[in-house]
Amino acid sequence: MNTTALVFMLGAWIFVLGLTIWCFYRLMKTDPANEKVPPPGSIP
């Protein structure tokens, strides 16, 4: 595979895969289902 084609392909792949992974990482971090609820009685 020639270098220019490789650069373009990898650039495109890294952009979309990077964006997808970042989005899902952020989604998991902010998913309300993953929120840690403080134990009952710990909030005055």
């Binding site: 220019t4 084609a5 392909m9 979309v16 964006l19 899902f24 952020r26 989604l27």
Partner: protein
């Protein structure tokens, strides 16, 4: 508006998979590779990603915003959503596009989707094994042309269409969580797994002797390999970068691939709760679609076809259209895969299976706006609206099967599936950004948001996206819509069928306008405040 409580998504991942399923369609695997090779290869990726940032992602957010805003006010389809943004009697009639286009596209899309189901069956039973290029093309044309019973009985396409439509109606009748969300949670992982296995298989193929190896690294030895296909896909042709056509082709591809301007994303978003995130989830939907398109779609058909037919052969196949690429060239590739009959069957089932899942996760979304419209305005149950839309699709779908060769489907695909999308996107952008107001739009998008958007996107959505859409519409009107309307280059023998096709479309549009009028009359009679 119905008094029944609206359904809601069961989980955020279910919502994103359903939205991404809506976006990922046949075009990701058949249209994108052709567009890339015809518009400068690697250079195409530059306008493609520019359009993704300036049109694709902003429109995705706009459609989520329009949908949730309308949904919270009890509207699951665009006529009501537009009225909730613009208190003007005209708004609801402009919104007819948001129930017209998904219905029209659903009908012919189900027919194309039924081909993928049929070819999954043919692959599994070995019906396409041993055929040469001519044989494979006859196999497809006999299926498409009812008058040609050389391979298939004339009932075969009807049978697969009825089965496909039946599955679609069954899924949508099960409701949002029990049908659409469940399908997305099963179908999307299968699609990605099948595509990933095929990509690994295609990219690990050894070089193969071809009749014309010009343009391949192994040209001296008369061989081509998958790397030559990737070279062909991604080598930049800098002369194309200054070409306006390439930029508009890239914007068009982004438009189709994300399924914006259809009315279905808004319908899905109408089931969001007030504090549900839209910014990050919308972006995740776009990113998932792009992974399916650029990484998987870009590494499948073209590298496989170049390996077995060379660059020259791939150009000829690509020029013959996406269906030739998917339904003629790919089965020929599978027939030649190392590994014998088992590999041929497995690859064929996976290829057409993934196309089927890509198709059905999109088609069920197209049924949703019309079903919501009937349920909310005329008190239909989910089952009644499912059966109603199924009966209509069955009746009109038969016209597509019978008159496919006369250009019946082409007309619907152009006016509703291509040109109409830009019109709806432009209208909704103007209403959501300009009429509703940029500040309201920005606040609406950030209600419950997990991601604060850079203010740059507010500027983009306010000025750049509408201008981009206006330019696209103007360009397409001059270069495509007028020649298509005048039937330039179409044989005289097709004119009657094409006019009949337009007549049926127009009939659907008029009936839907009358239904909107009747629905708003009923709402007024119930004492609801309407524009």
């Amino acid at each position: 508006m119905s008094d029944k409580p609206r359904e809601q998504w069961g989980s955020r991942i279910g919502l994103i998979l359903a939205m991404a399923g809506n976006a990922v369609g046949l075009g990701n695997f058949l249209r994108f590779p052709r567009q890339a090779v015809e518009n400068g290869g690697g250079t195409f990726m530059i306008p493609y990603f520019v359009a993704f940032l300036l049109v694709g992602i902003p429109l995705m957010w706009i459609e989520w915003g329009v949908g949730r805003h309308g949904g919270l006010r009890g509207h699951g389809s665009v006529p009501g959503m537009f009225e909730s943004l613009w208190k003007n009697p005209v708004a609801k009639y402009l919104g007819v596009l948001g129930i017209f286009m998904p219905l029209v596209v659903l009908i012919y899309y189900c027919y194309i989707e039924s081909w993928t189901l049929a070819w999954t069956f043919f692959s599994a039973t070995g019906a396409t094994q041993g055929l040469d290029q001519q044989g494979m093309r006859s196999f497809l044309s006999s299926y498409q042309n009812l008058g040609d019973a050389s391979v298939h009985s004339m009932w075969t396409p009807f049978l697969f269409f009825v089965i496909t439509l039946g599955i679609n109606i069954w899924v949508v009748s099960k409701g949002l969580m029990g049908g659409i969300e469940k399908l997305a949670k099963i179908g999307m992982p299968i699609l990605f797994i099948f595509a990933a296995i095929l990509v690994i298989r295609v990219l690990s193929l050894p070089a193969h002797a071809v009749a014309d190896a010009v343009g391949c690294v192994g040209a001296a030895a008369g061989t081509c390999g998958p790397a030559d296909g990737l070279n062909f896909m991604f080598t930049p042709d800098w002369s194309k970068l200054g070409n306006a056509k390439v930029w508009l082709a890239a914007a068009g591809q982004i438009f189709f691939t994300l399924s914006v301007g259809m009315g279905s994303l808004q319908a899905y978003a109408s089931y969001l709760k007030k504090k549900d995130d839209m910014t990050l989830s919308g972006l995740a939907t776009c990113a998932t679609n792009e992974t399916a398109e650029v990484v998987l779609g870009g590494s499948l058909a073209i590298p496989a076809v170049v390996t077995f037919f060379g660059v020259t052969g791939a150009v000829a196949i690509s020029k013959a259209g996406g269906f030739d690429l998917g339904f003629v060239a790919m089965p020929l590739v599978f027939n030649q895969l190392p590994g014998g009959q088992i590999m041929t069957v497995a690859a064929g089932v996976m290829w057409f299976g993934l196309l089927f899942f890509a198709g059905i996760t999109s088609s069920v979304s197209m049924a949703t706006p019309v079903m919501s419209f009937m349920e909310e305005n005329f008190g239909w149950t989910r089952k009644q609206s499912g059966l109603g839309i199924g009966a209509l699709a069955l009746l009109l779908g038969f016209l597509h099967i019978v008159f496919y060769q006369g250009g019946f489907l082409d007309e619907w695909d152009y006016w509703a599936g291509t040109f109409g999308l830009v019109i709806l996107a432009l209208v909704e952008t103007i209403l959501f950004v300009w009429v509703f107001g940029p500040e309201n739009m920005w606040r609406e998008l950030h209600e419950g948001a997990s991601l604060q958007l850079p203010r740059f996107f507010k500027f983009v959505m306010t000025y750049i996206t509408p201008v981009f859409l206006l330019v696209m519409m103007g360009w397409w009107t001059v270069t495509e819509a007028i020649p298509t309307l005048m039937m330039e280059g179409k044989p005289e023998s097709e004119h009657a069928v094409r006019w009949a096709s337009r007549g049926v479309m127009l009939g659907i549009l008029v009936v839907q306008l009358l239904l909107i009028r009747a629905a708003w009359k009923r709402r007024r009679a119930r004492g609801e405040v309407v524009a």
